[in-house]
């Protein structure tokens, strides 16, 4: 202990402007990169690395570390070990503020209409190891057409009380009537996409119940035999519609409001091509159908293996739905309904990012398969407890 010495250190922290959480001091504003409160780098080091990688041929991180180490040793000072350097440089990518959206957009071509744009495709061999493949890839930026699914819980559900209620609701702890009323009021004011994002974090898709906002629509769906026949995959009728009527139908479903109605001719054409769906939507108020659910509905009508036109606008839903196989599960069967029809709402036709061929070939990816199957939350809890017990019994974390 004689070698120990006491040092005075300054601890810096940042307050998040949106919430009251403390953030670690990254130091980028002062030209310093703070890696996990362990090592401080001047920002020239990661910048120099990535500049050299982008300009010079085949610069590896290990090679750059050797060069930096030699520079430091000339001035009789030490440099970090390669593993720390590697981790720090990778972590820098998540800290540095980059505008990926503008950076991956051509300022000239974005001003052209889509029909006049030109795109070129080509493949590049840059493989990642099979064992390390995990989950569908998320984009580091958020776009209105392609929202990022993995969002922090406190950003989705900003009120702590609502978060507690949702947690109790999904874990079957039981809610008082007034609590249920509060939760219902909250759900009615929340986007369903955000709600599913939130519930997904609990990994309890089996416990998810049909939200109250959907019940009217589902009742209407169940009472209309034409609609059920249309939704049913085997009894698909009138699929001879052309692209124009498909587009018209999409616009009708998504944009039809009292202020912006379609013309009578367009409605007649939709009725002619899609009589069952037209009748179905006429039975329920459009205000009761959340916007995100339109995509599900349209996808069931049109998204088969040989028709993928409508998937253009369904990307957020498919990102979400392949995680949550059974979205709509009722707590109890409604009147005049059969369970088969509810199972039809399961939208697990394909993984969106990984096609069915990939799934069949890669059966060994356990982490990836865990997303496919419904995970029992109790089992997860048990495994977490075992890990924690093992850490306590050994005295050291298992990874060390």
């Amino acid at each position: 202990m004689s070698n120990c010495r006491r040092m005075e250190v300054d601890v810096y922290e940042l307050r998040c402007p949106e919430c009251a959480h403390c953030q670690p001091y990254d130091g980028l504003a002062a030209g310093v990169y703070n890696y996990s409160n362990e090592t401080l780098f001047t920002e020239n080091v990661p910048k120099g690395l990535y500049t050299s990688v982008s300009k010079q041929a085949r610069t590896t991180k290990y090679g750059f570390h050797n060069a930096m180490k030699e520079v430091y040793e000339r001035s009789s000072s030490t440099f970090v070990c390669p593993s720390t350097f590697n981790k720090a440089m990778v972590a820098y990518l998540s800290v540095v503020k980059t505008n990926y959206k503008d950076g991956m957009t051509c300022s000239i071509c974005r001003c052209l209409p889509a029909k006049k744009q030109c795109v070129l495709f080509d493949g590049l061999w840059a493989g990642v190891q099979r064992e390390k493949m995990r989950r569908p890839i998320k984009y580091p930026y958020t776009d209105i057409h392609r929202p990022n699914i993995n969002v922090n819980k406190f950003r989705i559900v900003q009120e702590q009380k609502a978060r507690e209620l949702l947690k109790a609701y999904t874990k079957k702890e039981g809610l008082q009537p007034d609590q249920m009323k509060t939760l219902t009021a909250y759900l009615s004011a929340t986007s369903m996409l955000q709600f599913f994002q939130y519930v997904r974090s609990f990994e309890a898709p089996n416990l998810l119940r049909c939200p109250p906002a959907f019940e009217d629509f589902i009742k209407a769906l169940a009472s209309n035999s034409n609609g059920l026949a249309l939704v049913h995959r085997e009894a698909r009728v009138n699929f001879n519609a052309n692209g124009a009527s498909l587009c018209m139908l999409e616009s009708w479903i998504t944009h039809c409001t009292p202020n912006n109605p379609l013309s009578m001719e367009d409605k007649d054409e939709i009725r002619m091509h899609f009589p069952a769906l037209s009748a179905l939507l006429g039975t329920c108020s459009l205000e009761h159908i959340p916007v995100e659910f339109h995509a599900v509905m349209v996808s069931h009508v049109f998204c088969t293996e040989d028709a993928q036109e409508t998937r253009t606008k369904l990307t957020p839903m498919y990102h979400m739905l392949h995680m949550q196989r059974q979205i709509l599960k009722l707590s109890q069967d409604l009147e005049n309904t059969v369970r088969l029809y509810w199972e039809l709402m399961d939208v697990d036709t394909t993984y969106w990012r990984y096609g069915p061929s990939f799934r069949s070939k890669c059966a060994k990816l356990d982490r990836f398969d865990a997303d496919k199957h419904n995970v029992n939350p109790d089992e997860d809890l048990c495994t977490k407890n075992k890990e924690s017990c093992r850490i306590l019994s050994n005295g050291e974390p298992a990874g060390h």
């Binding site: 744009q117 990642v128 070939k361």
Partner: protein, 227 residues
């Protein structure tokens, strides 16, 4: 020569071979004719038209007017069978380097068989680009030149044009190939972040050339717009 199957069959020695490759296939990149990388898709198997189709369906609200791909003939079949309404205005072309392999395909897939003055970005489009950028406050390079299928600079009215570089994807890939070695040893998340950051820096370099400013200045502009 004795094959591994023979060894296994006759000698009883168990020969272990991996049935699948250790690494996944790679990525598919979507470029614009100016060389900017617009989208990156990680491949999980062989490169196929399905990937291209899905990329376009996800990335673009409408199908583009011109698609250049080395397997464009199959891609055209795939797109027209799946989404004929979306691709009814789209022209499919094979790039110049790979067209010699398409011996059984129509010559309509070739870029060179068409008149060289066929516009990709015409002068009228540039006027539209300028107006759109002014309206939406988008910064544009000082000079924007029209792009044609071939070299049409000898034709009156097209002296300022530049030919479409169908090899821009291959040229970019030759630079992106530098990072394939470190990428092969990364985890999935690191792989994706590294790939994206590299393509971002690559685009910044390309944009700095387009705008005639230094790369550091371009990075600073990007940083300001991200704030």
């Amino acid at each position: 020569m004795v094959s591994p199957q023979d060894i296994r069959k006759y000698s009883g020695v168990k020969v272990m071979y991996s049935h699948e490759a250790v690494c996944r296939a790679g990525v598919i990149l979507m470029h614009c004719p100016h060389g900017i990388i617009l989208d990156v898709e990680v491949l999980n198997g062989a490169e196929s038209p399905v990937i291209i189709f899905n990329m376009m369906m996800r990335f673009m609200t409408e199908a583009p007017g011109l698609i250049i791909y080395d397997n464009a003939c199959t891609l055209m079949d795939y797109c027209f069978k799946r989404a004929p309404g979306n691709f009814k205005h789209t022209v499919f072309k094979v790039d110049r380097f790979h067209f010699c392999n398409h011996t059984a395909c129509s010559e309509a897939f070739s870029v060179e068989k068409w008149p060289p003055e066929t516009p990709v970005i015409s002068a009228e489009d540039i006027v539209h680009i300028r107006n759109f950028a002014e309206k939406h406050n988008i910064q544009l390079p000082a000079t924007i030149r029209p792009i044609t299928y071939g070299d049409a600079r000898h034709i009156p009215g097209f002296e300022d044009s530049i030919p479409l570089n169908t090899q821009i994807t291959e040229q970019n890939n030759s630079q992106l190939r530098h990072i394939s070695t470190p990428l092969a040893f990364m985890t999935h998340e690191n792989y994706y972040f590294y790939m994206l950051y590299y393509t971002f820096r690559f685009n910044v370099k390309r944009m700095s050339t387009m705008f005639g400013v230094g790369e550091v200045e371009m990075l600073r502009r990007m940083h300001e717009s991200a704030m």
